[in-house]
Symmetry: C2
């Protein structure tokens, strides 16, 4: 008999299983049934892995369990005397897969049962991958609370039987380190909080018009475009972020936003500017532009192992191209107007990214202008409004939903109710097409926030969107 089935039968046998009535878990699991028994969580709660196929060489599970314990004890000293019965002594985690590569589409499902009989009492977590187990630990932590009478961590309404899996494989949050530099410790704080809501993609909008804070070993002058000497990330810092995120089940999607939103690139390499007086978009006529992009994406591919890379492509004002003689000449020689040149730039850049093993994300303007030309590996990133996702998936491309009216966190007048009610599948009825919506993303653009208020601006609204989990 499969362990899960055995547990289910044991659960049903004790007869105290009632339908979900009041469950304070966020996001709500696919299924959660519980009883009425209060349990006490042992101060010395033990992690065990009996029956697991996962060796945990990188301590992903062990560290996640320790973080769970730290979180439970964060705000009160749980020093009450442990009673003699109904004490939860451990968490046993069974992970079926020995692999722990985190990437797009990894299985994040889990089952968790917490019975009121057995010796010792323990929570039983079963998951295909360690990342499903991490989600289970988040759910477990939400069942626990400090009780002021017993002075212990308690867990109400056992037994529990929870079955859960995300609705979408992509559940993103954008941060923007170009408009305001964010220290590593701040980014890590954001990642920690993402894991509480089971968000799984940090979309790192690293560079933009205003600053180029990251080191690119292939082109070491690019970060001359940083705001200051100290407002920079080394590639080792980027690796640190990626590893930190991975250990929490969070992928990192890196973005360079080309050909617009790239003025800062030319501080180190002025040849990337159309001219000294007209600096954006990147010079489409100069092969050097694409050589630099190839260098960046080559360097990225060593660090950002997520299957997707974001190439931007939004808000391209091409007036500098027609205002600059040598580009105007190049357009004429190549029989292109500025629309052709914009398409040429995006498609050439897509090819470079794909040559480095990436699938490509582009903002929706690329689809709106020349959707049929986009590489079939493209994921179109909606932002302007609510009507593009149906068109994207009807065209057979994948889509990420971030319609700004509901899911832009820099819109301070966007309410949590709006975040919560936003439906990524709005207007898409065909199940095949629905599957092409890989998920959604809330966007914390950086013009108006910095390290002092980014977390307060992200939460709790991002958590409301995570209700779509």
């Amino acid at each position: 008999m499969a362990p899960a089935l055995r547990l289910l039968l044991a659960f049903l046998a004790i007869g105290s299983c009632i339908a979900v009535d009041h469950v304070d878990i966020w996001p709500m699991p696919q299924s959660a049934n519980h009883g009425t028994q209060r349990l006490y969580v042992s101060k010395d709660l033990v992690l065990s892995t009996a029956g697991s196929n996962y060796a945990d060489d990188r301590a992903i599970l062990k560290d996640a369990f320790q973080r769970t314990m730290d979180l439970l004890k964060l705000n009160h000293a749980a020093d009450g005397a442990e009673p003699s019965s109904y004490v939860l002594k451990g968490v046993n985690v069974v992970v079926r897969s020995p692999e722990d590569e985190l990437n797009f589409g990894v299985d994040e499902s889990y089952n968790m049962s917490i019975l009121t009989v057995g010796e010792p009492l323990h929570a039983q977590i079963e998951a295909q991958t360690v990342y499903g187990a991490l989600n289970a630990l988040q759910t477990f932590s939400q069942l626990c609370y400090f009780d002021f009478t017993s002075r212990l961590i308690e867990l109400n309404s056992a037994p529990w039987m929870i079955t859960d899996a995300p609705r979408f494989p992509y559940r993103g949050l954008l941060i923007d380190t170009a408009r305001h530099y964010l220290p590593l410790s701040t980014i890590k704080g954001v990642i920690d909080a993402m894991s509480y809501s089971k968000l799984n993609v940090l979309h790192w909008h690293i560079v933009d018009e205003q600053s180029f804070p990251i080191e690119i070993p292939s082109y070491p002058k690019l970060w001359n475009g940083s705001y200051s000497y100290s407002e920079r990330y080394t590639m080792s810092d980027a690796i640190d972020i990626v590893r930190y995120a991975e250990k929490r089940g969070v992928n990192v999607l890196a973005e360079i936003d080309v050909p617009g939103h790239a003025l800062s690139w030319g501080v180190g390499y002025p040849l990337l500017w159309p001219s000294d007086s007209c600096k954006e978009p990147l010079d489409v006529s100069n092969n050097f532009t694409f050589t630099v992009i190839d260098g960046i994406l080559s360097d990225f591919s060593k660090v950002f192992k997520f299957k997707l890379v974001h190439l931007g492509g939004d808000e391209v004002n091409t007036s500098c191209w027609t205002a600059t003689p040598h580009i105007k000449e190049w357009l004429r020689d190549n029989h292109m107007n500025v629309s052709d040149a914009y398409r040429y730039f995006v498609l050439r850049t897509q090819k470079i990214a794909i040559s480095h093993g990436y699938d490509v994300v582009n903002w929706e303007e690329t689809f709106n202008h020349f959707g049929e030309k986009l590489d079939r590996k493209t994921v179109v990133h909606n932002w302007l409004g609510g009507d593009v996702a149906p068109k994207v998936v009807a065209a057979g491309l994948r889509c990420i939903v971030s319609n700004q009216d509901n899911w832009y966190l820099d819109h301070l007048d966007a309410t949590w109710e709006g975040f919560y009610m936003n439906e990524p599948l709005e207007g898409i009825d065909d199940p095949e097409q629905q599957r092409l919506v890989i998920g959604g993303e809330v966007c914390m653009w950086g013009e108006q926030i910095d390290a002092s208020d980014i977390e307060q601006t992200i939460w709790p609204r991002a958590a409301a969107a995570a209700g779509q989990y």
Copy 2:
């Protein structure tokens, strides 16, 4: 030869000692001389205690050193290759006193030398107590920075010879958990940041009119006056805060603000109110009021070991006393007017606190109304304006300066320049009287802030005031 003298001679011998020109240490040490040699801080920097008399049984020093290392590595991965010379290998800390009781007046001075010769290169810290050594480590951390070329932590301008001691023994910051509840983790974050600026007293304005969040074992219904079930501190939580602060050289000054600012007390014990319709100040006529205060201060004395306790005494509106028949009668029977009763209340409460081993702090209204009657152990806490401190010390009492125009952090229009320029000894010329000003305190009243913005509101202005260190 004394170690310090030997070091001084070694320092002078190498001939590279120049006068202070540009030193980025905050607050500025009493004396700091340095040279021009860049050092590299080893990734494996070692703490040693050769010559120390301090056993560090509570790991105060060891943990502080680890925090220093964590801080240095917080925002960049320092993974450059270590050069073969000029590598700082360790910090040797000599603490003369084996004792580590933290309290008012503990010696916080230190000397630190960082030479460019010797094997291995190390920072030498000498201090009377471990708390001086902690201050030295803060200074040390400020000398270090991440260098983007070497990818190492570096320390410029060695050799260094720093001599330092605080100007005032009391360097406070007030937090207010009655107007908004602050989670333990937030309070700990404030304490961490205090230590960076060498502030040494957390004045915990625990309870007030709006809420009574703390557990009082002697009167277990008092925290019925909390905002909610979860917005409470157990006594174990308070002990946790005190221990956490002590390990960072920060004392905790607990306050109950009586007889005004105490409406919330009556939620659990309505007898403390003059009547159900007139609830503040505490009922002066009822012996039970003083029994409760005795219980609170008895419980406090087991947890808050700082020599001082704060009894408030400000903003007492006595109209409820004259509006309540049984109190009006009591006043008449005892031949008191309301001013007499206010004095009676404060003095009786002082006696209770002193009976529990405390010296007493009271807000300045008590001095302004009946200064000559205050116990000689009283420390008068200025807040209204700039002119009371000279009167207090002229009367032979001690004083803490917190004039609201410059040092109230809830005054959002009070600038850091104003914080920086505020002079606690303004108008006091006699050195004997100057010594009675035990220090200053900046006050973060809680009406307008909560956990989401308290740190951003405290800093950097509180650090500007810490320039008075």
